[in-house]
Amino acid sequence: MWELIAANKRKSLIIFIAMGICLLTLGYCVGMAWLGPDAGFFGVLIAFGVWVVLSLISYFAGDSILLYTSNAQAVTHDIHPQLFNIVEEMKIAASLPVMPRIYIIDDPSPNAFATGRDPQHSSIAVTSGLLSGLNRDELQGVVAHEMSHILNRDISYLTFAGVMLGSIAMISQIFLRGSRFGGCSSRRYRSGGSGCGQAQLIIFIIAIVFAILAPILARIFYFALSRKREYLADASGARLTRYPSGLASALEKIGFSNIKLSSTNNITAPMYIVNPLQADGYSGIFSTHPPIQDRIKILRGMAGGASYLDYSKAFSAVKGGSGGIIPSAALSDSASVPIRDAGVEKEAPKDPKDKTRETIDLLRAVNNYAFLTCACGLKIKFPKNFAQNEFICPRCGRKHEVPSSNNVLAAAVASAIPAKPVTATAYGVSPQVYARKNVGWESFNCSGCGALLQLSPAFIGTSLACHSCGKEIKIR
């Protein structure tokens, strides 16, 4: 891994410097055009200043801004144990020093991204669509891919390069808009304005041409950087999980989904595992991601093992050429890395309605909804701004107390566990959770049949079965 990180740094640095030259040249041209032929370096200074300020902001707050604008919500182990466990597994496999923070984005389109300035401060965000669409192995593959971005320091490079692209775009936009009313009019800002000289006009034209070209060039560099790193993250992801098929089939599902991600733009697009803006199959110098079919073919082609060498071989088989996507230093480290078996056995095919319900309930749990199931089978979900304390079931007329907030988390746990059909007689609902108040004898009603249940002060178990309908009730 270390060789990989080092090689990564060198190659990215070249692209990075190229982008920097773009930025500074733009600054030089704009400075000359607006402030006179001797003010070129002043322009460079300003352009550099803009980049430094924006970089500092994005270094310290970039992840929070990105997560905030994507409307991502933090999840804990209690809310989604499986996702949390998978991230922890990959954290262990990657020997990451700290656990990344985990977020869910409420969006039916399956996608994921990682962000953060270094492995100590990283976050992984997945959409609800990803959670409801993928099985455990596939989810593991996606998390491993994102973990590789963190491990290979891709995020910080993409962030700084993204900011540079942003600065270039911003400066050229300001310049082009500011110059819309004719070349020399802006010269009125100069002291001792001396009309519109020939030389000044030429400089001005050059500046305009460069202001149009610079963002395009920068974008090409930026996307080249991003594409390379996607292959690398796939390779590292396959090596971390020892199971390339997991990521491959996840990419298939994500690629074939036709739901569009709602909150993205050109700058954030490269952060996702699959470009949310890109049309299927299209890939050129303006693509942030390699074509998804190629990525799948390469992963599927890793027959012998899960090492970088195996990925590199598969890459050459699919794309032709000598590979070269994995830095050669990393290829030597691969003693044979065997592929493991699939972890998940064939899952019972789920009703799409169930999957949808599960995911939406999960998001409700994250948003502090309280859950209640009436004896008549109607499920009632209370938002946290629900004002009343009582609720009368419109279906059967039973009166319910609106569950208090301390039940919320437990209900969330219940809904996060895949709901499998309970026996035919029982209600296919999440288990009732009773929070003990520790005041001697306690009594409450079974939510399944309404029977009165009592707890003795000596009861120490964590669950019991209702004496009349057999429904399981958790005691906390």
């Binding site: 309605k353 319900r357 909804y369 009632i380 979900k381 938002p383």
Partner: protein, 128 residues
């Protein structure tokens, strides 16, 4: 989600794996587009397209609880047409209390049959 009439939080009611949002104050309900999809399957689009515009009416326009844009008044069901609100961006349908009542009363409500059956079941005890 907040009620488009009272602006208060609505409870979510789920039956047979389909959800509706219900306001306990004005007793109106919101049927989300995704839920309509679950309920009607491939018939969803044609069912919704079939709703005729109610034209100019006196009733105050309501705002879609999702996009907060004004909704259209449309006529749903036959033989007795009930006027409901439909989001212009197709985020869902809103039924006021009495509109809901009419839908439930109406037997064999043609193409909106599934909706009517579901609502009838959920509000079995609260018909007034």
């Amino acid at each position: 989600m907040d009620c488009p009439v009272c602006k208060k939080g609505m409870v979510v009611l789920e039956l047979n794996k389909v959800e509706i949002d219900h306001c306990v104050h004005c007793r109106g309900i919101w049927l989300d587009s995704g839920e309509l999809q679950l309920l009607l399957g491939h018939k969803k689009d044609e069912t919704i397209e079939a709703f005729a515009s109610a034209g100019r009416v006196k009733e105050k326009p309501r705002k879609c609880p999702m996009c907060l844009k004004k909704m259209d008044k449309v006529l749903c069901g036959h033989p007795v047409a009930v006027m409901i609100d439909k989001c212009r961006k197709n985020h869902g349908l809103w039924f006021d209390k009495d509109e809901l009542g009419k839908i439930i009363e109406e037997e064999g409500a043609g193409k909106s049959g599934e909706i009517s059956v579901l609502l009838k079941d959920i509000f079995r005890e609260s018909r007034e």
